[in-house]
Amino acid sequence: MSALVIPLPETTRPWTLPDRGKVAMAALIIAESAIFTIFVVAYLFYMGKSLSGPAPRDVLETPVFYTVCLLSSSITIHLAGMFLERGKRETFLSLWALTFVLGGLFLFGTGQEWHRLIYDKGFTISTNLFGTTYYSLIGLHAFHLSAGLVMLLTVLLFGMAGRVGRGQSNRVAVLSLYWHFVDAVWVVVFTVVYVLGR
C-alpha cells in the first residue's frame, strides 16, 4: 500500500488548528476551577457552623490594598504580552517585573495576615470549622499564586538574559492565561470569605 494521500476536494482552503498551548491551559483552568469549586462549596456549607469561636468577623480584616495589587497585576501582564507581541522587549520586561512585584506583594499580604492570625490571635487550621475552611481555601489560592510567581520569575530571568522575544509571545500568552485565572479565583474567594463570610 502506498502512502495514504487522498485528493481533497477542499485543498484550496488552508488547514488551521487551534494552538495546543492555549487549549491545554484552558483545559487545566477548567480542572482547577472544579477543585476550587469544591473548596468554595465546603466554605459556604460550613459558614456559621463552627461549634466554637472565633467567628470570621472577630479576626478577619479585609485586605483591600493587596486585592488591588493582585487585580492590577492582571492589567500589567496583559499589557506586557501586548508589548512583547509588538517586539518592544524593554517595555515588556519592566511590565513583567511589575507584575511579579504586585503578585509578590499579594503573597506577602497573605503571609502577614496568617502571621497575625496565628501568632497574635492563636487562630489555626485546627481551631474550628472556620479555621479549617479558611486556611485551606486561602492556602489553595496562595499555592496557585506561588506556582504562578515561580513561572513569572522564570520568564523574568530568561527575559533579563535576552531570551524572550516576539517568538516566545505565544508561550507568554499561555502563562498569562494562568495568571488571569489566579486573579479571577481571588475575586470569588474574596467575595466568599470577606464579603459573604463576614
Binding site: M1, S2, A3, L4, V5, I6, P7, L8, P9, E10, T11, W15, L17, P18, D19, R20, V23, A24, A27, L28, I30, A31, E32, A34, I35, T37, I38, F39, A42, F45, Y46, K49, S50, L51, S52, I125, S126, N128, L129, T132, T133, S136, L140
Partner: protein
C-alpha cells in the same frame, strides 16, 4: 509498503542488551510505548485485584467460613474496588486512547509527549503507593496492613480515631497522585484531538473512538478533580487536625459522600464512554457497514457527558434527602437511559442487514450489547428511589454494578484486545483460544452475576465477611463462587493467548480486518513516527476511499 517506512540511521535493531531495551522503555515519550505500558501495568493489577476478588468469593462460599479474618476481608474488598477502578480500568482505557488516538487522527504523537510520560509514571507511582501499604501501613513496627475503609472511604471511618496507622493515608495519596496523572492525560487527549488532526480531519470526520475519548477527557477534568479536592481535605483532617469531616466539631460526614459521588458517578461514565468507543469501531467493521447514525451518536455522547454530572446523589438515597432531591436525582438518573438507549439502537442498526463476521472481537461486542442492556435495566430499577431504599447496600447493587463493569466494560475491553492486538504486536491472537476465552467467560460471568442478584433481593447486605446459615443464601453464594472460578479460568486462557500469540501468532499485516480507520494504513506494529507522510482525509472512512476509489464515501458525506 516502501514509502511507508523510513529507515532511521543508527537506530539499533536486534542484539541489544536488555538494559538498553529497559532504558528505552523507561525513558520513552512515544505514545505507542506509553500506551502499551499503561495496558501491561493495568493487566498486572487486573490479576492482583482478581486474586483479591477470589479471596472474597472463597470466604463467602458458605456460611460461617473462616478462610480469612474480618479485618482481612475488609482490606480485600477495599483493595479490590480501589485497584479495579483506579489501577485497572482507568489505565487500560488510557492505554488504548494513548495508542490509538494519534494513529486515528493522522498525527505523529500526542500534543505533549513528555506530559504523557509524566502522567503515566504518576499513575504507576499511585499504584505502587497503594500496594506499599501492605508493608508500610502500620509504620515501622509491622507488616500486614492495608486500606480497609471501602473504596469510597466514608467519613468518619477515615478519621484518625477509627483508622489509625497510615493505611488510609496511602489510599488517599495513591488516589491523589494517580488523579493528577489522569488530569494530565485528559488535558493531553483534549489538546491532541483539537490541535493535531491531519488535513481534512474535521471534527465531523473523526472516528467515533476519538469523539468518545474527547468527551471522556472533558468529563475527567470536572469529575476527577472533586475527588482530588476531597482527598486534600481528608489529608488536612488527618495531618493538620482539620475538621472538614469531623462530626465532633460540627463537620459533616454527608459532605464527604457528596464530594465522593460527585466524582464517583461520572467516573462510571468516564469508564464506559471509552468502551462505547471500542464498540463503535468494532461493530461496523465486523458488520461490513458504516456506523449507523454518526451525528446522533456524537450528540448522545455529549448528552451523557452533561447528564452524568447531575446524577451523583442516587448513590445516597438512603441518607434521607428531601423528596425534591430524591425526585430530581431519580429523574436525571433515568434520563441517562435515553442517550444510552440511542446508542444501543444505533449499534443494532449498524448490525441490521450487515454481513456479520462472528470473529472473537465481534463475539465480545455482542456479549457487551446484551449484558450492558440488562445492566442498564437494573440501573433504572435502582434509580427509582423507593426501590433503592429497599435494596441499597445489598448484593443486588453489587450484582448491578458488576454487570456494568464486567459485563459491559470488561467485555468491550476484551473485544478491543482481540481487535487491536494485531496492530500493536504484528501478530493475530489465536481464534481458537479466543473462542474458549469468550464462552468460558460468558458462562462464568452469567453464573456469577445473574445469580448474585438473588441473595441481594433476599436481603444479603454488602461488605459482610460471613453470614448465618439457614437464610437461604448458602447455595446461591456457592454458585456465585463457582462462577468466579470459571471466570478466573477464562482469564488464564486469555493471558495464555496474549503470551503465546506474541511469539507464535499468525502474522497480521497492515490491515487484517479490512477496516477503515487510519491506524490500519500503517505497518503493524507502527513505526515510531507513525506516518511517513502525514495523511489527508476526505471522509469518515479514509481507507474505504482508498480501497474503493470508484465509490468513495466523500461523495456522500
Amino acid at each position: 509498503m516502501s514509502t511507508n517506512v523510513i529507515a532511521i540511521e543508527g537506530f539499533p535493531g536486534t542484539g541489544r542488551l536488555w538494559t538498553e531495551t529497559l532504558h528505552e522503555w523507561v525513558t520513552t515519550v512515544d505514545h505507542k510505548k506509553l500506551g502499551m505500558m499503561y495496558i501491561l501495568y493495568a493487566l498486572v493489577f487486573l490479576v492482583i485485584a482478581g486474586i483479591e476478588a477470589m479471596i472474597i468469593r472463597i470466604q463467602l462460599m458458605h456460611s460461617h467460613n473462616n478462610f480469612v479474618s474480618p479485618q482481612v476481608f475488609n482490606r480485600m474488598f477495599t483493595m479490590h474496588g480501589t485497584t479495579m477502578i483506579f489501577f485497572v480500568a482507568m489505565p487500560i482505557l488510557f492505554g488504548f486512547a494513548n495508542y490509538l488516538i494519534p494513529l486515528m487522527i493522522g498525527a505523529r504523537d500526542m500534543a505533549f509527549p513528555r506530559l504523557n510520560a509524566f502522567s503515566f509514571w504518576l499513575t504507576a507511582l499511585g499504584g505502587f503507593l497503594l500496594y506499599f501499604s501492605f508493608l508500610g501501613g502500620s509504620g515501622l513496627y509491622g507488616a500486614g496492613n492495608a486500606p480497609d475503609v471501602g473504596w469510597w472511604a466514608y467519613a468518619p471511618l477515615t478519621a484518625k480515631a477509627f483508622s489509625p496507622g497510615h493505611s488510609s493515608d496511602y489510599w488517599t495519596i495513591a488516589l491523589l497522585v494517580s488523579g493528577f496523572g489522569s488530569i494530565g492525560t485528559a488535558i493531553n487527549i483534549i489538546a491532541t484531538v483539537l490541535c493535531m488532526r491531519c488535513p481534512g480531519m474535521h471534527l465531523g470526520r473523526m472516528p467515533l473512538f476519538v469523539w468518545l475519548n474527547l468527551v471522556m477527557s472533558g468529563m475527567i477534568l470536572i469529575a476527577v478533580t472533586p475527588l482530588s479536592a476531597a482527598q486534600i481535605m481528608l489529608l488536612v483532617d488527618r495531618y493538620l487536625g482539620g475538621h472538614f469531616f469531623d462530626t465532633q466539631a460540627g463537620g459533616s460526614a454527608t459532605l464527604w459522600m457528596h464530594f465522593f459521588w460527585i466524582f464517583g458517578h461520572p467516573e462510571v461514565y468516564v469508564l464506559i464512554l471509552p468502551t462505547f468507543a471500542f464498540i463503535s469501531e468494532i461493530v461496523p467493521v465486523f458488520s461490513r457497514k458504516p456506523i449507523f447514525g454518526y451525528p446522533v451518536m456524537v450528540g448522545a455522547t455529549v448528552f451523557i457527558g452533561f447528564v452524568s454530572m447531575s446524577v451523583w446523589a442516587h448513590h445516597m438515597f438512603t441518607i434521607g434527602m428531601n423528596s425534591y432531591a430524591n425526585s430530581f436525582f431519580t429523574i436525571t438518573s433515568m434520563a441517562v437511559g435515553i442517550p444510552t438507549g440511542i446508542k444501543i439502537f444505533n449499534w443494532l442498526g449498524t448490525m441490521w442487514g450487515g454481513r456479520i463476521r462472528f470473529q472473537t472481537p465481534m463475539l465480545f461486542c455482542v456479549g457487551f450489547l446484551f449484558q450492558f442492556l440488562i445492566a442498564g435495566l437494573t440501573g433504572i430499577m435502582l434509580a427509582c428511589s423507593p426501590f433503592d431504599w429497599q435494596l441499597s447496600s445489598s448484593y443486588f447493587v453489587v450484582a448491578h454494578f458488576h454487570y456494568v463493569i464486567v459485563g459491559g466494560i470488561l467485555f468491550a475491553l476484551f473485544a478491543a484486545f482481540y481487535y487491536w492486538y494485531p496492530k500493536m504486536t504484528g501478530r493475530m491472537l489465536s481464534e481458537r483460544l479466543g473462542k474458549w476465552h469468550f464462552w468460558l467467560f460468558v458462562i462464568g460471568f452469567h453464573v456469577t452475576f445473574d445469580v448474585m442478584h438473588i441473595p441481594g433481593i433476599l436481603g444479603m447486605p454488602r461488605r459482610i465477611y460471613t453470614y448465618e446459615p439457614g437464610r437461604g443464601w448458602d447455595t446461591l453464594n456457592l454458585i456465585v463462587t463457582i462462577g468466579a472460578v470459571i471466570q478466573a479460568a477464562a482469564i488464564l486462557v486469555f493471558v495464555w493467548n496474549l503470551v503465546s500469540s506474541y511469539w507464535k501468532g499468525r502474522l497480521a499485516g497492515n490491515d487484517p480486518w479490512d477496516a477503515w480507520t487510519l491506524e490500519w494504513s500503517v505497518v503493524s506494529p507502527p513505526p515510531a513516527y507513525n506516518f511517513a507522510t502525514v495523511p489527508a482525509v476526505a471522509s469518515r472512512r479514509p481507507l474505504w476511499d482508498l480501497k474503493h476509489p470508484e465509490d468513495p464515501d466523500s461523495r456522500y458525506e
